[in-house]
Symmetry: C2
Subunit: 292 residues, 2 copies
């Protein structure tokens, strides 16, 4: 059983699971585990690791329209060093401060591999799930895709400062809140834009017609991509980008774009289920980067 | 730097860290990581792993007097199997149901070792920390010590049913709430009764005079202990028991004992800082089981 099959089983068993964050009463809660082999390439600073791992959970809260209040992390390493632990905390605190949440510490564990498990909680007024996209709605996304794919290439080239900067992303909390009263469905793009669209389509029983030219791609990716196809592949399938992907009624697009603190781009529209998920009339593969 | 030194550094850096759970506004939050090598002996069922790992976080909430509302877990394994994942969820749900909380799922991760990170949140009215014990207060504890030490011996003897039963402990949530308005200091005994008393003494600037005969020891431990000294060592220093250790004003002891759903035993009293932590007039070593 792979992670996706196991996640489907979880979602079937647990009434609150399956979306980016669970909502219990007025509180949203989400947890994520990251570890060295698959999530922190050589050259990732502990500051970046602290920022990014906590940011991943904050992004899940943004994706349901919650306002983060606090985050914790369980920090496991083969041994403890005061300086790297401090750097991690500094990064975790910085990203929490960026979204007005408190980083309140957590647990330490000695482990065979550097492993971080983060949890964030937030207040929810109107939560958004993945199941309400309706034909005619428009698809909007925050920011630009491909930052993390570009970061990986910079890590490979040992351009560590640039790579670390790209790896520290801002969770789209403000825009998540802006979209909370308006969006018919929403999630974050951590598995890639392509997989996100397929997951929204499955949850909402709809299809998507995406305009390739409208999909915003990170400048950093354009600089390192081999060619146009490589750039598209990395932007849409690689994932790990944590932008919001939402559907909104067509007549609400102008208002939410004006109200959103982060630029929102309209990239297509919701179509009927039997039309599938397509880009410029061609099917978009339900394929992300398979994280080992 | 060992875990204890690293934890001290964390506590110095983070205003909310250092106690069993952080309290932000009216919400308590706590996280814990457990993994196979150190926390789940051979023979531990996935049901027990689910129960115990979530229970560890619920116990931290009990220790600050919070009422748990929800728990999540990040579940990492070398591969996923539907049946073992279901058993884990069943155990996690069962212990949440026992304390009226919701188990709401979490994250899955492929990892080199079976590793669980749990987080629990709860509502707090009056939270209790470790810093208010005052000479003259009495020391009360829930339940009996040595269940986990006994469980380990049953695991070694491959008496897996008994071992798993002993490993599934009930977080002392009800009694934590009972003590919340009364206790001057409180924590759980996960590092052992001896270490807990030393941690309370350090946080409260006090000493303790403990009556050895009054310390309640689990029947299961009496059955497997070699002799009286082995039994005492395992009950007081081994840890992993998750009972509450609290200090209460002398004139409140009778009332809280009557009100507590779990039996509360008075085991000694708070004395002045310069008297240290002693049992029957002899110093009690600040020594727990060092978890590798």
């Amino acid at each position: 059983m792979d992670e996706r099959a196991a996640l489907r089983q979880l979602a079937a068993t647990l009434p609150y699971a399956g979306d980016d964050a669970a909502v219990v009463d007025d509180t949203a809660i989400t947890t994520d585990m990251l570890h060295e082999t698959t999530d922190f390439p050589a050259g990732t600073t502990r500051y970046t690791a602290g920022w990014r791992s906590v940011a991943a959970s904050l992004s899940d809260l943004a994706a349901v329209g919650a306002s983060p209040t606090a985050a914790v992390a369980a920090y496991a390493d083969t041994a403890f060093d005061g300086e790297t632990l401090s750097e991690f905390i500094d990064g975790a605190q910085a990203v929490c401060a960026a979204v007005d949440a408190e980083y309140v510490g957590g647990d330490l564990d000695t482990h065979s591999e550097f492993t971080i498990a983060t949890t964030a909680i937030g207040a929810v007024d109107e939560s958004v799930d993945r199941a309400g996209a309706t034909p005619g709605n428009r698809v909007v996304v925050t920011g630009r895709f491909g930052r993390s794919a570009a970061a990986l290439r910079y890590f490979e080239q040992e351009a560590f400062d640039t790579a670390n900067d790209l790896f520290q992303f801002t969770p789209r909390v403000d825009t998540g809140r802006t979209l909370a009263g308006v969006a018919t469905a929403m999630m974050d793009s951590s598995d890639g834009l392509a997989r996100s669209l397929h997951q929204l389509a499955e949850a909402s029983d709809c299809g998507f017609a995406i305009n390739r030219a409208a999909v915003p791609v990170a400048d950093a990716l354009s600089e390192v991509a081999d060619d146009r196809e490589d750039r598209w592949e990395a932007a849409v399938h690689f994932g790990e980008d944590f932008e919001l992907v939402a559907t909104v009624p067509a007549d609400a697009v102008a208002d939410v774009r004006a109200a959103s603190p982060t630029p929102l781009t309209e990239i297509g529209r919701v179509v009927a289920d039997d039309e599938g998920v397509g880009v410029d009339g061609e099917p978009l593969a339900d394929r992300g980067y398979t994280h080992a």
